[in-house]
């Protein structure tokens, strides 16, 4: 997947500027940045929901112009269909025409997201975390090559987020989809991804790309993990206690050298 110098002109404000990024097959990449930096805009362009004013995004050599069932977008909330049961939601994008195969696929992914037994339930009977699980299962059941995730755990409470992050890591290790994951949560980014793309304020550029070469599942107390996290905080202009690094300190970010 390649992103080529794409700007988006919105009321004469450049939201994104000079973004060049390549994502490999089966890679998990997180994009972090302060709110309003345009990371969601970038993902929406990649998903085919918005057009770029300049530049282009290519997936498998094909230019993105509209939504595509091979690249499924996962929203923060309110996108599981409330009039369908969990089963019917998960089966919504299944392309198999054989009904037995379809049912097996649906059951398989419901199991993968730990919702076995809830197939006949309606979303209104589920918690927020369970609804996001339905959404992830629905996306996977469509057998896409790429997943775009736009702060998928952003509306959940802290414990549920922790749990879902862990589960997502396990799912990704089994499925090995290419994932582009947008979040403002640096911890989340470092815990999940192979590489973290750090973006700055508007007009947004890529400030740094950090490779996270730590075994999964990741230990939040691992010193390498902590060093990576603090480095990203510094790139974003904060020290690890949350204090702003202003003036002199801010630009003095040295490229990070990881374990290898």
């Amino acid at each position: 997947m390649t992103f080529q110098s794409k700007d988006r002109n919105k009321e004469a404000v450049n939201v994104l500027e000079d973004i060049n990024l390549e994502v490999g097959d089966g890679e998990f990449v997180c994009i972090v940045g302060p709110s309003g930096c345009g990371k969601s805009t970038l993902l929406n362009i990649a998903g085919g929901f918005l057009g770029a004013t300049r530049g282009e995004i290519r997936i498998d050599g094909e230019k993105v112009t509209e939504p595509n069932p091979r690249h499924i977008f996962i929203f923060q909330e309110n996108s599981v269909f409330p009039w369908l049961t969990v089963e019917d939601n998960v089966g919504f994008g299944v392309k198999r025409s054989n009904s037995r195969e379809k049912a097996e696929l649906v059951a398989h992914y419901i199991e993968m997201v730990n919702l076995t037994g809830f197939g006949k339930a309606f979303p209104s009977e589920l918690s927020g975390g369970m609804k996001q699980r339905v959404e992830i299962a629905r996306a996977l059941a469509a057998e896409p090559d790429v997943l775009f995730m736009d702060e998928p755990f952003g509306a959940l409470d802290y414990l549920t987020r922790m749990k879902l992050r862990y589960e997502l890591t396990q799912i990704w290790e089994r499925e090995r989809k290419t994932v582009l994951f947008v979040t403002h949560d640096v911890e989340e980014a470092v815990q999940l991804s192979d590489r973290v793309v750090v973006m700055g304020k508007r007009p947004s550029r890529i400030r740094d790309i950090v490779t996270v070469d730590v075994e999964r599942p990741r230990d939040l107390d691992d010193p390498v993990y902590r060093r990576l996290r603090d480095h990203i905080f510094r790139v974003m202009g904060l020290d690890h206690s949350g204090q702003s690094l202003d003036g002199e300190d801010a630009p003095k970010v040295v490229p990070f050298v990881g374990r290898r």
Binding site: N68, N78, S79, F81, W83, A142
Partner: protein
């Protein structure tokens, strides 16, 4: 603890049954003594209304008139549903259709169906068609307005997710736009049914010779039979309550329950 909760629920159910019943008893008693003490021999007591109703039932006209009124409501209302839902969905979905037709709709909407009575008589004469037309008009506007608003209020993410899965065109309408709008459409249908029932009585007062509206006017004109007038009014009220109950039952279906706020 569970027993306590169950007891609480039983108590509140019992209350919601007993309280209105107590009000009804007080009302009937008050009515009875008001007629007695005022010495009126035109306005009926509750007992006279009851025997008037029994008389109508014996002669077979009560059932006939109820069926006649319900028939007219069904025809006009169904017609409004068939025209109103598709029209509303299209106007909700296509901004251009909305821009073109909505102003006309908003001009026609505040005109009371009663004001259309002379026009209805002119166009359809003294037949069943005139009241059916009036009921159609009266129920059309709430249905179109609710369907249109329902589509405009759909969560954008439903549409985007469906598009992402490769759903478009008519399939998008069938699989997402219609089911997502259904709860709000149903609210419009409930409103429209109430209005339709309101209008059938008014319409029957002028143009036809059957139905509950006709019963009321006829009983007054033919010998000031106010017991029958009030009997007709009571029937209208009870049937209206029944119709509303039917639609409310539909609101508990799984397809729409998610979008209807708890009442």
């Amino acid at each position: 603890m569970a027993g306590d909760l169950k007891g609480e629920a039983m108590k509140s159910r019992l209350e919601s049954l007993l309280l209105p019943l107590a009000v009804a008893v007080c009302f009937v008693l008050g009515w009875h003594f008001a007629v007695r003490w005022s010495g009126s021999d035109i306005f009926p007591t509750p007992k006279q209304v009851l025997s008037g109703t029994a008389e109508l039932a014996r002669k077979g006209v009560l059932f006939k008139y109820i069926v006649a009124s319900l028939f007219r409501v069904s025809c006009g209302y169904m017609l409004a549903v068939l025209v109103g839902i598709p029209a509303g969905l299209l106007m909700g979905w296509f901004g251009r259709a909305r821009a073109a037709f909505n102003p006309a709709l908003q001009v026609l909407r505040p005109i009371s169906p009663i004001a259309w009575i002379p026009v209805a008589i002119l166009w359809f004469g003294v037949s069943d068609l005139a009241p059916i037309f009036l009921i159609f008009l009266a129920s059309l506007f709430p249905i179109v307005t609710a369907s249109m608003a329902a589509v405009q209020n759909i969560q954008l993410n439903y549409i985007r997710a469906a598009r992402n899965f490769g759903i478009g065109g008519l399939e998008l309408f069938k699989k997402v736009v219609f089911p997502a709008s259904l709860p709000q459409i149903l609210t419009g249908l409930r409103l429209a049914l109430g209005v339709a029932w309101l209008v059938v009585v008014a319409a029957e007062m002028i143009a036809v010779n059957s139905g509950l509206g006709y019963l009321i006017i006829d009983a007054r004109n033919a010998g000031k039979r106010y017991d029958l007038v009030v009997a007709g009014m009571a029937m209208i009220g009870l049937i209206g309550l029944g119709l509303d109950w039917l639609v409310r039952r539909m609101e508990t279906l799984d397809e729409v329950r998610w979008g209807i706020s708890g009442r």
